[in-house]
């Protein structure tokens, strides 16, 4: 689904990603790589294939949009270094032309040298581009002129219909003050948000993105 915000065209992808054609930039948020390995090392049996699957989805997105830049809007890695991150480093090698940008989030606590060794460009607290300011947690944005695009909360929306019907989806949120991207990782929960007037919510369903 394509929308226009602050004079720019934005593509909302059902794989929980945002593409800015004018800048050839693909943005995702809350990748939480290493979360499954972190759980596993603590004795919780999370399937180890989750991280691989998330990376595979990301690879397909890169192939489809052929961006120059991949922006990760915070919470790229869940905790410390672990095997999931080794896998990421190996996977990344196939995209030598692509610039990886990370806007740091609350979970991103690796040493700067670790990011450097994986050729990930660090931006803290935000990365500004045209009318937008990419930042992990919107309320922390100090760029008053720009429109913050954030992540962090893993937004979800419940659609309520007649005859007591309810459906819940991850979603994109575009409000008056700021926007929120859905969490990219499938191993994340949802935080329910409730739209007010003049706010737009786009639900991510298995087949496409629809405005609700």
């Amino acid at each position: 689904m394509t929308i226009t915000s602050h004079g720019e065209e934005l593509i909302l992808d059902k794989e929980r990603a945002l593409y800015l054609p004018q800048h050839q930039l693909l943005a995702i948020s809350d990748l939480h790589l290493g979360k499954s390995a972190h759980f596993r090392s603590a004795g919780v049996q999370v399937p180890s294939t989750i991280a691989q699957n998330d990376l595979q989805r990301l690879g397909l997105l890169i192939e489809r949009y052929k961006p120059k830049t991949l922006l990760i809007n915070g919470d790229m890695f869940h905790h410390g270094l672990n095997t999931d991150i080794d896998e990421f480093a190996a996977w990344k090698k196939q995209f030598r032309e692509l610039t990886f940008l990370l806007v740091k989030g609350n979970h991103d606590r690796l040493a700067n040298a670790d990011y450097a060794s994986m050729q990930i460009e660090i931006h803290e607290p935000s990365f500004c581009l045209g009318p937008f300011c990419f930042i992990h947690d919107a309320p922390k944005c100090t760029e008053e002129e720009l429109y913050p695009i954030s992540g962090h909360i893993h937004p979800g929306v419940t659609v309520v219909g007649k005859a007591k019907q309810r459906l819940k989806f991850p979603c994109f949120f575009f409000g008056k003050e700021y926007a929120v991207l859905p969490a990219f990782s499938t191993f994340t929960g949802l935080y329910n948000i409730y739209p007010k007037i003049n706010e737009q919510i786009f639900a991510v369903t298995p087949n496409k993105v629809v405005e609700v």
Partner: protein, 825 residues
């Protein structure tokens, strides 16, 4: 060996005689069989000394032995007495201690459960008592201790008290597993004298109850039934005018004033309320309508602090209290002598539970138990009539034992790994000999082992999973102290939301509330707990700090207890009562009282007979409602509703929201529901049953809900523990999330399969569903179109727990829902 010639027996007889008592025949039978090396089950009505039928057997054996407890401190343990409730242990320990003193038998009785102090537990570890009273959970905690495998060398007997209560739950499986381990440890020591006994109230499957407890068919096993009858008087509290009773489930407070004279003329009354939240409201209401009761009534439930509960139980013994409002926390065998009257508020949903509660009054042999039934809504009067009949004909439910519960097995193996470790070949043989896991396949066992050792993953390359590892001595162990601590905190199979302790600002604990409830409170808000109105101050260190409030009324916390489903036995009697009510072919005053409601049902729609299936179609601004009334109980209706919804949704794209109660179910849709007689026979057909049920379960949330408990029991989700919550943000997740990722990435996960199996086998009992559908095929389908809700449909409509089922395209559905909601804006 004839026991009458033994010195132990003589001493016991003497002692009884000195107290003016004489053993019942079933007690002597139990003693004799125990001495002869039998395991078994004692089945007797409450109040006839079931405890003594086994406890004295062990005492006789001890008195017969020439030398006593001349053993090393560690080898003392002779008898493990498993009780389902903490309150039971205290009472039984008291009775045992008194007896031992009078018999001059120098034995110690220890109690070990969630209420036992840390100091006492340490003391027990140094020197085990001869008799240990323990809950199934604490027994597993004991197995999780280093050095525990040497404690059972001289153990003579394990008794599972109130076994019927444990049997039908995963706690029963905990007992089975613990027994299998203790037997295995004794076998390693070449000891073979362990006997396993159960004490059970009457249930429909008493033989099976013994099979579960002692599955070894070659062992000497016996069921000892007491040939005694307990007299029970059952009386309903009827409204003067049926109009005063609401149509749907409520508190029943409208009839509370009728309780006052009953309380007044009884010595002590126990008032059973089905939920903790409602018991708080009842307590408040009784004080409001009769201030004279202040200080003479008390409230008792599982979320009230231990000290307070203790005080109430003591006051019950000494007869200081006129009435106690209780939940299932006082259900079982506690013997409160002054209690002569019991009141049941709301439907008990099962005959066995009702009789059990009735047995709390007139506890002594040959006394009469007296129970009053107080309905909370009009149709419950029909249930009352049904219960009376079922009680009269002794039509008592079975308790179905759990099998193949992998969540409990996973937990158990980690428990052993935290303790002294285990040999997988030996433990495999042990669990294969339990009732719960006798059907386990070698590949399922391998899966479980792989799950706890390599995280269910065979891809070795990137595996950093660490939990259970093989030690140098070849045993499987947990080495991480942090993991061990976390596991210990969640041993058990009772899953509740995270609980927080409630404490006064000035000190002193009052009880516990769910975390969810606290998150909705603001400072200065008032709520009710343990019968007091409390003002919320703040939450500190996972404790809710409160002060006494001056307010008289406040909200009650709701504790998420499970809803009790109607048993199948009661369902069929209930159908019969509906037949009789309108024809007036009965002697039930309850049915007379509710008669005007039946007339209204008949006028608006129809009263279904035994050989009819009533379907009501109601159209209003909420949407199109379809109500059907098979009278099979909530659990079966949940599956049946999903099945019918699924079959209807194959006819055309349609979305349903589903609700159900014990009488029937509702399908609610935004579009008209296709229904006529031929469609009805089609969707209620037993054809393709298994396949259609599987598909309908897959498209609803039933398995997902079952998975909530499974994820906690197997240790995937850590819920914390009252007052001991260790926040670990990086490891937070939910059962729902695990359900999703297993469904997406690990379809063959046995815990996932268990969730579906639990719906399929425990909830739905396919034979029962097939029988219900056969019955419906031979029934006449009556379809009515009432203008408004009927007495039968209204209680279902107001039920809040709902399922969804849809055959529409998701995007279309959203578009339509959006269009609808815009119309209302």
């Amino acid at each position: 060996m004839d026991q009458t010639k033994t010195k132990g027996y003589k001493k016991i007889k003497q002692w009884l005689k000195a107290n003016g008592r004489k053993p019942f025949k079933f007690q002597e039978d139990a003693w004799q069989n125990y001495l002869n090396g039998y395991s078994g089950l004692v089945n007797a009505p409450t109040g006839f000394g079931k405890t003594f039928s086994l406890f004295l057997a062990i005492a006789i054996e001890a008195l017969n032995a020439s030398e006593l407890s001349n053993k090393k401190a560690k080898d003392r343990l002779q008898l493990i007495w498993i009780t389902p409730l903490r309150s039971l242990a205290k009472d039984i320990a008291r009775a045992m201690r008194e007896t031992l003193t009078e018999l001059e038998l120098d034995w110690h009785v220890g109690v070990r459960n969630g209420d036992t102090s840390q100091a006492e537990k340490v003391q027990q570890k140094k020197s085990m008592p001869e008799i240990l009273l323990i809950t199934p959970e604490s027994l597993h905690l004991l197995l999780a201790q280093k050095g525990s495998s040497t404690l059972f060398k001289n153990l003579k007997c394990i008794v599972a008290d109130e076994w019927h209560e444990l049997l039908g739950s995963k706690r029963g499986v905990l007992v089975e597993l613990a027994i299998s381990r203790i037997k295995g440890l004794q076998k390693l020591e070449k000891n073979q004298f362990l006997r396993v006994w159960g004490i059970s109230a009457t249930i429909g499957n008493i033989e099976e109850a013994l099979d579960v407890l002692e599955p070894d068919e070659t062992a000497k096993r016996i069921i000892i039934k007491a040939d005694l009858e307990k007299k029970i008087i059952i009386k309903s509290i009827l409204p003067d005018d049926i109009e005063t009773l609401p149509w749907a489930g409520h508190l029943g407070l409208k009839l509370a004033y009728k309780l006052l004279p009953i309380i007044e003329k009884s010595k002590t009354t126990l008032i059973f309320i089905n939920t903790r939240g409602q018991s708080e409201m009842w307590y408040q209401h009784l004080l409001n309508i009769e201030p004279e009761l202040a200080g003479r009534i008390a409230i008792h439930h599982g979320s009230i602090d231990f000290e307070l509960r203790n005080w109430i139980e003591d006051a019950l013994h000494t007869g200081q209290l006129k009435a106690v409002i209780a939940t299932s926390s006082l259900d079982l065998g506690v013997d409160f002598k002054p209690v002569d009257t019991v009141v049941q508020v709301g439907s008990p949903k099962g005959v066995a539970r009702f009789l059990q509660r009735a047995g709390r009054s007139g506890h002594s042999p040959h006394e009469v138990s007296k129970i009053y039934f107080l309905p909370t809504h009009a149709l419950e009067l029909v249930e009352a009539a049904a219960i009376k009949e079922a009680a009269k004909t002794n039509n008592i439910e079975s308790r179905e034992p759990f099998i193949m519960v992998f969540d409990t097995l996973v937990q158990y193996l980690v428990t052993l790994a935290i303790g002294d470790g285990f040999d997988d070949k030996i433990v495999y043989e042990e669990i294969k000999n339990t009732h719960a896991f006798k059907l386990i396949l070698p590949e399922e066992w391998s899966w479980v082992m792989q799950f706890i050792t390599s995280g269910g993953d065979s891809l070795g390359a990137y595996n950093e999973f660490k939990k259970v590892i093989k030690d140098e001595d070849g045993l499987w162990k947990v080495k991480s102290r942090q993991l061990a601590m976390r596991h210990r905190l969640h041993i058990g199979t009772i899953v509740s939301d995270a609980m927080l302790k409630v404490k006064f600002l000035s000190g002193g604990y009052i009880g516990m509330v769910e975390e969810y409830f606290v998150t909705r409170l603001k400072a200065g808000d008032n709520f009710r707990l343990a019968g007091r109105v409390l003002e919320f101050v703040h939450v500190k260190d996972m404790t809710v700090i409160v002060r006494v409030s001056k307010q008289k009324n406040a909200i009650s916390p709701s504790w998420n207890g499970g809803r009790l489903p109607l048993s199948s036995n009661l369902g069929s009697v209930l159908r019969k009562k509906y037949n009789e009510a309108l024809d007036k072919t009965h002697n039930d005053e309850e049915l007379d009282s509710v008669y005007p409601l039946f007339l209204l049902q008949e006028k608006r729609s129809h009263v279904p007979r035994n050989d009819e299936l009533l379907i009501e179609l109601i159209n209003n601004k909420e949407g199109f409602h379809l109500f059907a009334y098979p009278f099979e109980g909530r659990l079966v209706h949940e599956v049946l509703a999903a099945l019918v919804a699924y079959r209807l949704s194959k006819l055309l794209p349609i979305s349903f929201s589903i609700a159900m109660n014990d009488y029937g179910f509702e399908l609610l849709s935004e579009t008209e529901i296709p229904m006529d007689e031929s469609i009805a026979y089609e969707v209620f057909s037993p054809k393709n049953l298994t396949e259609d049920i599987t598909l309908s379960i897959n498209s609803t949330e039933m398995a997902r809900r079952k998975f909530r408990d499974i994820a906690c029991i197997s240790g995937l989700v850590f819920q914390g523990y009252p007052g001991k919550y260790v926040a670990n943000k990086h490891l937070q997740s939910s059962a729902g999330l695990f359900f999703n990722v297993f469904s997406d990435y690990d379809k063959h996960n046995l815990l996932l399969r268990q969730a579906y199996d639990e719906v399929f086998y425990q909830q739905l009992e396919e034979p029962r569903l097939a029988a219900a559908l056969e019955r419906i095929q031979n029934s006449e389908v009556i379809i009515t179109h009432p203008q408004s809700f009927t007495p039968l449909s209204f209680p279902i409509k107001v039920d809040s727990l709902r399922e969804n089922m849809s055959s529409e395209e998701l995007e279309q559905r959203i578009a339509r829902m959006k269009a609808e909601s815009e119309k209302f804006k």
